[in-house]
């Protein structure tokens, strides 16, 4: 089925911009990114959009469609009624560069603040021995394609610019959880998660999980388990006492 769809697309840059109306052809089986490309080819040759794989795997084409953070290349036109206006804007948590392209360097800065994998002292690459069940748990988190839709949706920074300094966002709190669950990592991730990366700001309302195109259970499997680990360390006098008495060294 081919029809003419009504699109509203945000055009502008840091100095301002607006939603502009377009009428554009839609064919059977197309996704929103196809329509953006058709607009570039026919009516708006200078429309800026970031994309690469068109397969939901590079994480470049993150934007907001009818107010919901999505990948442009994974949003099928068949999910909209033919008479529905489709509004496309850039992500609204990061500074805009032009049209649909935002500056996501906030995320790279936060990524650098997470200390990398830290093996026990004296253990050299090649000597790592791990059990399958021990590494399995965090494999889910490695499906992340770094689209930063979760970061964009999280109300902690989306609605409160001033929290950006204190909060690393779900993507990187999940990275911390991944390392904390790694059988060979020895760095202290728990205190850092709370004190340096703002885990306490997360109120587990699950929007990161809702928008993740990889369907990673960010909240249930990374953030909440991490909150429980932090509670062990900082808020649970009985666990603290138990650890003192048993003097656990390497942990279990």
């Amino acid at each position: 089925m081919t029809y003419k769809a009504d699109f509203r697309i945000w055009r502008g840059d840091t100095d301002g911009g607006e939603l502009r109306d377009f009428k554009v052809e839609v064919n059977e089986g197309e996704v929103v990114l196809d329509i953006i490309h058709r607009l570039q080819a026919t009516q708006a040759p200078d429309l800026a959009v970031r994309w690469n794989c068109k397969a939901g795997k590079c994480g470049s084409c993150s934007a907001e469609i009818n107010g919901r953070p999505r990948l442009l290349c994974m949003t099928r036109m068949s999910t909209f009624a033919p008479d529905e206006v489709v509004t496309v804007t850039p992500m609204r948590t990061f500074p805009v560069i032009r049209d649909l392209v935002t500056d996501v360097s906030f995320n790279y800065a936060k990524a650098r603040q997470v200390p990398s994998f830290t093996p026990p002292e004296g253990l050299k690459p090649g000597e790592y021995r791990m059990q399958q069940v021990d590494v399995e748990r965090s494999q889910e988190f490695r499906k992340c394609i770094e689209c930063f839709l979760c970061q964009n949706t999280c109300h902690v920074i989306r609605d409160f610019e001033d929290n950006k300094a204190a909060f690393s966002g779900p993507r990187f709190l999940m990275r911390i959880a991944e390392l904390d669950m790694h059988p060979l990592d020895v760095a202290d991730r728990q205190k850092a998660a709370q004190e340096e990366h703002g885990l306490g700001l997360c109120n587990i309302t699950k929007c990161c999980t809702d928008v993740c195109p990889e369907h990673i259970h960010i909240t249930d499997n990374a953030l909440i388990p991490m909150k429980e680990r932090v509670a062990d360390r900082k808020y649970d006098p009985l666990v603290w006492l138990g650890n003192k008495i048993r003097r656990r060294g390497s942990g279990d």
Partner: protein, 273 residues
């Protein structure tokens, strides 16, 4: 990057400096308000019902059934409830309904539950009402300060809730008697209490703190095969935690209502044998 900027209201939120300027607070076109509205409606109805029943201090026992709102009884002024868990720790001086003493624990458990937190932060606090719908306030500190930092004691409520679940299980056992206390009988009320306690157990065991305690806290599953299997079991239940939270909320209200109807004489408990 405008990190650290706290401009005047209007320049913060999604219209903070540097971001794409879009007048609309949000552009969602779906019925995003439906789910928080349903949450508020059901939770409010439950609060009204349970407040009435907790303060009523009446019609909570119809031999052999005890309402889950009044078990165990921690005050000494409870109806005589043969065989049920009476532990008058509070003695005579407690003048209010004995339900208040025990309901603190399940209430605390559910108030600090990770799922209910999500539900009421979204429904009652609009923090946020729905994803990408902005919060109606100028600053936010999440669970970093008093009082919300107290959510971290959820694990203690989990232990209390487990004790309450054991007592409610006992209440199901003693419901296998007849109106005169003779064993080996069963009525519709027995089934109602049984369904309730199964839901309570499923909800309690699917708790995130329980998942952490049984095995989630471990770094090396391989060193603890039994706890690893328990963790797997709890994790499967945990995937249904939201559904169990609602089901057990309805379950406990209906179980209490059933006992109320029988005790007040509005309904005759059908006996099977």
């Amino acid at each position: 990057m405008a990190t650290g900027t706290t401009g005047p209201a209007g320049s913060t939120g999604t219209n903070a400096p540097g971001r794409a300027h879009i007048r609309a607070r949000h552009l969602r076109t779906d019925r995003w308000w439906l789910s928080p509205a349903v949450t508020v409606t059901i939770l409010s109805a439950f609060i009204v019902y349970s407040t009435w029943r907790a303060f009523a201090n009446d019609d909570y026992f119809a031999e052999p059934y005890v309402s889950p709102f009044y078990s165990p009884c921690l005050a000494s002024e409870c109806d005589s409830m043969p065989m049920s868990a009476n532990a008058p720790l509070f003695g005579d001086w407690w003048g209010l309904s004995p339900a208040l003493l025990i309901l603190i624990f399940p209430l605390g458990f559910r108030l600090t539950c990770y799922y209910y937190r999500k539900a009421y932060y979204r429904g009652f606090w609009a923090s946020p009402s729905a994803c990408a719908v902005p919060e109606p306030r100028g600053s936010y500190s999440g669970e970093t300060r008093f009082p919300l930092i107290l959510q971290n004691i959820h694990r203690y409520f989990f232990w209390f809730a487990a004790v309450v679940a054991v007592i409610l299980t006992w209440d199901v056992l003693i419901a296998f008697r007849d109106e005169h206390g003779a064993w080996g009988h069963m009525g519709l009320g027995t089934l109602v209490l049984l369904a309730n306690v199964l839901l309570i157990w499923a909800y309690t065991l699917s708790c995130h703190s329980c998942r952490h305690i049984v095995g989630g806290k471990l770094k090396h599953f391989s060193k603890h095969p039994v706890r690893y299997r328990l963790w797997g079991f709890v994790s499967r239940l945990n995937g249904r935690h939201m559904e169990l939270a609602w089901a057990s909320l309805f379950g406990v209200a209906l179980a209490d209502l059933y006992v109320y109807l029988v005790a007040s004489g509005a309904f005759d408990d059908p006996r099977f044998f």
